[in-house]
């Protein structure tokens, strides 16, 4: 395979079209070419391709080219109809609140003439079946929201009326491709007694531009074009192959050699190498995932007692000083090669992301002042002491993550300069993210500072409520349910959260979330380090892709093409 003529032809083509490639969303100079095969290197293999069992991003990456939802999220964070004709809102009559205000109905109208990959028509029965499959199957990952649905009526084959038994504010994000909650084919799955034992979990097909036809373990996954896809003339490609490679390094090598056309999920550390290549384009798009330093406001224990404040972190001034002592911009520009953005709160993008909530910038001088004024006096070894308590903390993150370890070491260095001793104590991710009953330290409250990333859904309510409401502090009384690991308890915040979840007006909710996030930052419960980017790379012959921080790179494979191969 000789690359030089290809490069020459592509350049001539670009010049002939008189446009320059690149831009905010993707290459616009290449004209779509019908046909061809595209190979994407994935360094992790999906455990399953059934959306409702999947926990890995790579699973979503693959199955979403085959399975679609009623709606999806566009790059700018708005909902877009996919199988539905329009996104239901109060304005278009799709959303109706009951007179009592205690329940609501959401009506979806399906686009006409939709077909499954095998030619069978898509009907509202499929929507109802999807809900039933989620509720009946004990193995599904999440039922959030679906457990609020009391019934789904199907007055005609293209209309589905979903009855919610309460006011479920995030209703619009259900049945969404971007949330990994697509519509399932009833005629295929209703005869399966146990979906997990069917072929569908390995080779699903649906309404998407492609259907998964082959899943060879540790080797590759093949997806063929869907002849019944709703958009005429699309997809351009005949086939997409997801090639399983042993590591990111191998994926990168194959991309450079031209053996694969695209690569999923690079590390920032690989950027200096790849940005030198002229025949590869790197796309980094901000995702909703925010890397943070989570402070434990309660005294660590197994389990922690939320009524006893942390001896060091219980002091808001100490927390403020640590925020001031974290060189966020430097970390982003140096360790992340500028491919991330500094975070100011837990909501980085989307309609609910506030523009007016900030955290203090790096200012070690001010940090020292704050600590001096709060009564933390430096001891003989340079570490501050107050009331006999030494400013010594432990930071925990997942093992085997180079960037995180590097950040920890920079923090050890910088915090020592303001008189706080930091010790690194990393654990595998299965321990960090483990469950209450398995004594995971984060759940039990047996930590000082955790560093990890977490992403809210397009609708932030679940995240905000679970992580910041007082009732959701995991403790023995509630069997460790809840994600409020900070052990943060504030009645006014609770009120605001409760309000935001009980109304459907998006603008009003946005204001409420803004207030909540401001309160959280005033209480300095966390250092929001940076907003992570999804970094993917494509060869210059690939076109049609568009960045979408809310989704994977495969969210619009119907537009993909490979030119001059």
């Amino acid at each position: 395979m000789s690359k030089v003529p290809n490069l020459a032809i592509a350049m001539v083509a670009m010049l002939a079209l008189g446009a320059c490639g690149g831009g905010a969303t993707g290459p616009t100079a290449l004209t779509p070419v019908k046909g061809g095969t595209m190979t994407v290197a994935v360094w992790q293999e999906p455990n399953t391709l059934y959306p409702y069992y999947a926990t890995q991003t790579v699973s979503t990456l693959v199955y979403e080219i085959a399975l679609e939802g009623l709606v999806r999220v566009t790059p700018d964070g708005a909902y877009q109809p996919v199988l539905a004709k329009e996104v239901p809102t109060v304005a278009n009559g799709g959303l109706k609140l009951s007179t009592s205000g205690q329940s609501m109905d959401v009506t979806y109208h399906l686009k006409p003439g939709l077909k499954w990959a095998d030619g069978q028509p898509v009907t509202s029965d499929d929507v109802r079946f999807t809900w039933q499959a989620i509720m009946k199957d004990p193995k599904v990952t999440t039922r959030g929201g679906y457990d609020q649905i009391t019934s789904i009526d199907t007055p005609d084959p293209v209309t589905a009326v979903v009855h919610y038994g309460s006011i479920y504010a995030p209703y619009a994000s259900r049945f969404s491709s971007s949330a990994g909650q697509p519509i399932l084919p009833r005629h295929v799955l209703e005869k399966e007694a146990d979906i997990s034992k069917s072929d569908f979990v390995r080779t699903p097909s649906g309404t998407g531009p492609f259907k998964i036809t082959e899943f060879k373990s540790a080797d590759h996954i093949t997806a063929e074009r869907n002849p019944n896809y709703r958009e005429a003339g699309k997809p351009y490609l005949d086939r997409i192959i997801f090639r399983s490679v042993p590591s990111r390094e191998v994926a990168l090598a194959q991309l450079k050699a031209g053996e694969v056309d695209a690569m999923w999920n690079l590390l920032e550390a690989q950027l200096p190498d790849i940005e030198k290549q002229t025949d590869i384009k790197v796309r980094a798009v901000t995702s909703p995932s925010v890397e943070r330093l989570e402070f434990n406001l309660a005294k660590p224990g197994n389990p922690a007692d939320q009524n006893v404040p942390h001896p060091v972190l219980g002091d808001v001034n100490m927390r403020h000083a640590l925020v001031l002592a974290t060189p966020k911009r430097e970390l982003v520009s140096k360790l992340l090669f500028g491919k991330a953005t500094v975070a100011q709160s837990t909501l980085s993008i989307g309609w609910a992301a506030p523009r007016d909530v900030h955290q203090d910038d790096y200012n070690p001088t001010k940090a020292k002042q704050v600590l001096d004024q709060a009564g933390w006096v430096a001891g003989s070894d340079g570490i501050r002491v107050k009331n006999g308590v030494r400013a010594s903390l432990k930071i925990t993150t997942t093992t085997g993550d180079q960037i995180r370890e590097e950040i920890e070491q920079v923090l050890v260095d910088r915090w020592r300069q303001i008189g706080v001793a930091l010790e690194v104590s990393n654990i595998p991710s299965s321990v960090l993210f483990g469950s209450w009953s398995a004594n995971a330290p984060r759940k039990k409250g047996n930590f000082d500072i955790n560093m990890y990333a977490s992403s809210p859904d397009i609708d932030p309510h679940e995240t905000v409520a679970q992580r910041f409401a007082c009732a959701n502090i995991p403790r023995p009384e509630n069997n460790g349910l809840g994600f409020n690991y900070y052990r943060y308890c504030d009645s006014q915040t609770d009120q605001l959260i409760q309000q935001a979840g009980s109304i459907v007006d998006q603008d009003k909710r946005k204001q409420l979330y803004s207030s909540i996030l401001k309160r959280l930052n005033d209480a300095q419960i966390s250092v929001w380090l940076y907003n992570r980017s999804n970094i993917d790379a494509y060869r210059f012959t690939v076109g049609g892709y568009k960045d979408n921080g809310w989704d994977n790179l495969t969210w619009n494979t119907e537009d993909w093409f490979v030119s001059k191969k």
Partner: protein, 307 residues
């Protein structure tokens, strides 16, 4: 005092060959034989130089192993940084020297734990024989039936990557080989006349084991101990490579290689130098161990005498 058991050449001939007086102790003989082993001597010198570097280097180095300088990341080896810098701008040579302290200490301590356990268990089994022997050897079998690396991983995940944990873990999983050697040694030694004599003199068992049997079994113990350090250093590096050993920012030769797989493309020196440090050290230790084995094993007199 000398315990000769081989077939041909006489001790006197061996001593004469090496230019020693007739009544030289067998330790002296062993020392002379070791010194005749050129490679082992060269390795010993190398190791000593390494140890000195590792102990003194950090004191004379102008760099700190933990101070990060994000402006000089991934610099190739130069006059300022003889081995280049790593992903956080830290001088690699300084880190290798500090890491040497950690890795060598773990090697020695882990070996000590392993040898102690092995000698105690193997010695008791060999000396008492019968039921205690059967029980202890079944225990050894059970420990050997566990896949070692698996256990290492599971325990590391459980206990975490602290210095003491790593030492105890490595020691607790490598004593089995030594115990078998000591057991075999004690089993044969206790049939000897000097043991019978000691028993006749009503010397207590513990004294027999410690003062009569153990010194005679010292040769294999010394060799096993030397090689045990090498094994422990490699084991620690593998554990740290997997992310389960010594945690950053404390440098150890193993955890410096942890990020090598990603960094080796852009900064190969970060992968090559720490590995080279391990390699040189372990090769040296292996040669020393080989030399010791040659020196302390009386049967080697036969071999070298027959050119």
């Amino acid at each position: 005092m000398a315990t000769w058991t081989r077939a041909s050449a006489t001790p006197e001939a061996a001593l004469a060959e090496l230019g020693l007086p007739e009544h030289a102790s067998h330790w002296r003989l062993a020392l002379e034989r070791f010194l005749a082993h050129r490679l082992a001597v060269a390795s010993l010198v190398t190791l000593l130089v390494l140890v000195v570097l590792v102990l003194l280097g950090p004191v004379i180095s102008p760099y700190s192993p933990e101070h990060t300088n994000l402006d000089v990341r991934y610099e190739a080896p130069s006059r300022a940084h003889l081995m280049g810098t790593d992903s956080l701008g830290r001088d690699l040579l300084t880190r290798i020297m500090f890491g040497g302290r950690v890795s060598l200490t773990i090697g020695v301590l882990a070996m000590t734990v392993a040898i102690t356990l092995g000698v105690v268990i193997g010695g008791l089994a060999g000396f008492y024989g019968g039921v205690p022997d059967a029980v202890l050897m079944r225990f050894v079998d059970m420990m050997l039936s566990f896949p070692r690396l698996f256990l290492l991983i599971l325990f590391s995940v459980f206990f975490g990557g602290h210095f003491l944990t790593v030492v105890l873990l490595l020691g607790a999983l490598s004593w089995m080989g030594v115990s078998r050697i000591i057991r075999a040694s004690f089993l044969s030694l206790k049939e000897r006349q000097f043991v019978e004599a000691a028993r006749a003199l009503a010397v207590p068992n513990r004294a027999i084991m410690l003062r009569h049997l153990l010194p005679n079994a010292l040769a294999p113990i010394i060799v096993a101990a030397t090689l045990g350090i090498a094994t422990a250093i490699i084991a620690e590096s593998t554990l740290s490579f997997l992310g389960l050993g010594i945690q950053p920012p404390t440098p150890s030769w193993g955890n410096m290689l942890k990020d090598a797989q990603t960094d080796m493309v852009t900064a190969p020196w970060t992968a090559v130098f720490p590995g080279l440090a391990i390699f040189v050290t372990v090769v040296a230790i292996n040669f020393i161990g080989d030399g010791l084995r040659d020196a302390l094993d009386p049967q080697h007199v036969t071999r070298s005498a027959r050119r």
